[in-house]
Amino acid sequence: MNNYQGEVRKRSQNLLIVEGNHEKNVLFWLIFKCFPEININMDEIWIYGTNIYQLYNDIVKQYGIRWAEENDDIDLPFVISKKQYPDKLRYKEDFTNIILVFDYERHDTNFSEQKILDMQKHFTDATDMGKLYINYPMIESYKHLCKFPDRDYGERKIRVSLQPGKEYKLLVDRETELGFQVDFPHKINDLLAAHYNVNNIEDRKKCCNDILNISDTTGMDDIIYSILQDVVDDSNVLTAKYQLTDWVNKQHYVHKKQTYWDYMRCVFCQIILHNICKANRIMSGLYQIPEDMYKECFDRLDLTEILKEQNLASKDNERGFIWVLNTCVFFIAEYNFNLVVDK
């Protein structure tokens, strides 16, 4: 044993700043599972729940009211750790990704066009200060596709008066093509927990993962049986096998010889491309983009311009509207556009 070692510095950390549970437990969990190249393990990610105005105030507290005008180099891990764990400060120098995901929330009593614009203008790089993705009107917009391809997505908007958020969620649930697919892993997880008493979280995780990795219907029941036999009671294991085999059988992906993850990866690529087209629609009026122009269009997108457009469109409480647009899925395209276009 020597005493040369000082404090060990842990690099390559990731920070996800979000508003609610859906962002972290459902959407980003699924994104990182479907795109393992991005190399972020959900279990090791630092998640901070807040809203955009609270975060704005936290920044003001450390850097002063003029941080935006003065173009301060904001260190979010520092700002947040200073507030949460003042004894264990963290710095952005140790973070490879800082992602901020917030809802537009026009109806929030704290809503301020200036503050939200300041945030959008300054948080533009996930590898540096952090990147802000605002979803319009809410995170759920990533599911707001009714079919593939969805030509009507270009003009899809909601009235400003549609509130609270619950209303929009209900609307998406009614119209979406994707709800069941996104929820599928969680349905399996809940089934194993509630009906088959698989109480160990790790066991359950592994079971779900193995079941979702199945990409062929031949011999599927045997495979599911072998996945379940060690974790489900003998008295229940057969019923569980039949039920899960039935569930998986009803999914399209397994008949196309894909795993759930492969399938959802393709779905995400579609979601991203639809939203690139939509962003282009908002910025320049054009929704249909030729396939070979996707990357060029994507590189031209300007989230600040989009925010300005949205602010303008939604100004009037009665007649105003919000373009449905999900920007946080752009994280994947930004990481590496080949992830989106490679078959």
């Binding site: 690099r11 390559s12 950390q13 190249e37 991005i38 190399n39 952005k92 120098e93 140790d94 973070f95 490879t96 790089d125 590898t127 540096d128 930004e334 990481y335 590496n336 556009f337 080949n338």
Partner: protein, 384 residues
């Protein structure tokens, strides 16, 4: 131009390591780091003791093979200390006006040649295996060298000689060929020879700058020309060292350089480390009218302020736009797309791999990315 260099079993490099100057990505910025589709300005980072200096020495090995001499002769342990292989292998691939030339050789622990091989445009020109005394010279006519009197050469490397006399090191056939055959001036071997002759390496660490008075004597002589002294002064000022210089001839005939103040201050006794290194760079490159083909600047900015480091790079880019320059540094401030680009910035790892930043992360690197911050936060951790 050197297109690719491959090395195995040399010093700390047990496994194969290569530098592929050809492997560029399509960035539209810092295009002055590329010349004719080949990397011409490269910057290598790496933790201490990963072999940045050794890599430079290895690259310069071809100079020793072709011209002998002691300048770049290696001292110390030559082969990798963990390997069972009996020799270190060097391979250089060049392109000269659309002709491809590949020269490969291996050397034993005592730096004796084990074998050598020259391939031009895919054709093996000659091959010598000194260990087994096997020689192949069938295609010398391809480079118009068929008049070479091979027997002479073979006599000189006769390995049957077991007298007690200290044996001369084996003369590489390539060196013998270039110096014993009348080659056309446009011969590819002449081009190779010119390229290698103009290769050079500078290591910051081992320079005895303050003691080099004798070397400086010639330099001082050139500075007697007041325009040239002014040029040195301008260079120093431009790079960030504000000073005025004056050269005096002492009664004993020696010349001495001074900083001009109310009283004269002797230059070499008082100049700062950074100034000395910078003046040495000036003396070796800028004051001489030669065109280097390849420069390995090892820890070139070890004593420089970050702004000076940047200025020196920009100066070299402009002055030696066609020269292939490899720099090594610990100054992460230079890791920026403003100056370099992700396919010209490399990390040498502890395990002996050399990876360009653009290949060290699955992330698509863009012009706006802050590469220095990414490096520090561990984006390229797996390749460090």
């Amino acid at each position: 131009m050197l297109k690719k260099f491959t090395l195995r079993n040399y010093k700390n490099f047990k496994d194969e390591i290569y530098i592929d100057f050809n492997n560029i990505a399509g960035y539209q910025f810092s295009t002055d780091c590329i010349n004719n589709g080949i990397i011409s300005k490269m910057l290598i980072y790496g933790r201490n003791a990963t072999g940045k200096t050794n890599l430079g020495k290895a690259l310069m090995d071809i100079y020793v093979i072709m011209f002998g001499g002691r300048i770049y002769m290696d001292t110390g342990v030559f082969l990798n200390a963990d390997s069972k292989a009996d020799s270190a292998t060097f391979s250089y691939e060049f392109e000269f006006e659309n002709n491809m030339l590949k020269y490969e050789y291996s050397r034993f622990f005592n730096q004796e040649l084990k074998n050598e091989k020259l391939i031009i445009d895919g054709k093996t020109i000659f091959m010598c295996n000194f260990e087994r005394a096997e020689f192949y010279f069938d295609n010398l006519d391809y480079i118009n060298a068929e008049t070479a009197i091979i027997e002479r050469y073979l006599q000189s490397v006769d390995i049957e000689d077991d007298t007690e006399e200290i044996q001369e090191p084996k003369l590489p056939f390539l060196r013998w060929l270039t110096s014993n055959v009348a080659l056309n001036s446009d011969s590819i071997l002449i081009k190779l020879s010119n390229y290698v002759r103009s290769m050079t390496m500078i290591t910051a660490g081992n320079m005895m700058l303050r003691l080099s008075r004798r070397i400086n004597e010639g330099f001082f002589e050139t500075l007697e020309d007041s325009d040239r002294l002014k040029d040195l002064e301008d260079f120093l000022n431009e790079m960030g060292i504000e000073c005025r210089l004056v050269l005096k001839k002492l009664p004993d005939g020696q010349r001495e350089l001074y900083f001009l103040h109310e009283k004269l201050v002797p230059f070499y006794e008082t100049a700062s480390s950074g100034t000395l290194v910078l003046v040495d760079l000036y003396r070796r490159f800028i004051s001489r009218s030669w065109t280097p083909s390849f420069i390995y600047l090892d820890e070139f900015d070890a004593f420089y302020h970050y702004e000076m480091a940047e200025k020196v790079i920009n100066y070299f880019k402009k002055k030696y736009s066609k020269c292939q320059i490899i720099m090594t540094s610990h100054n992460t401030n230079l890791m920026t797309n403003r100056l370099m680009r992700p396919d010209c910035l490399f990390i040498l790892s502890r395990s002996g791999t050399l990876t360009a930043l653009c290949n060290a992360t699955p992330r698509e690197l863009r012009e706006g990315h802050n590469l220095e911050k990414m490096y520090i936060s561990g984006e390229f951790e797996k390749y460090e």
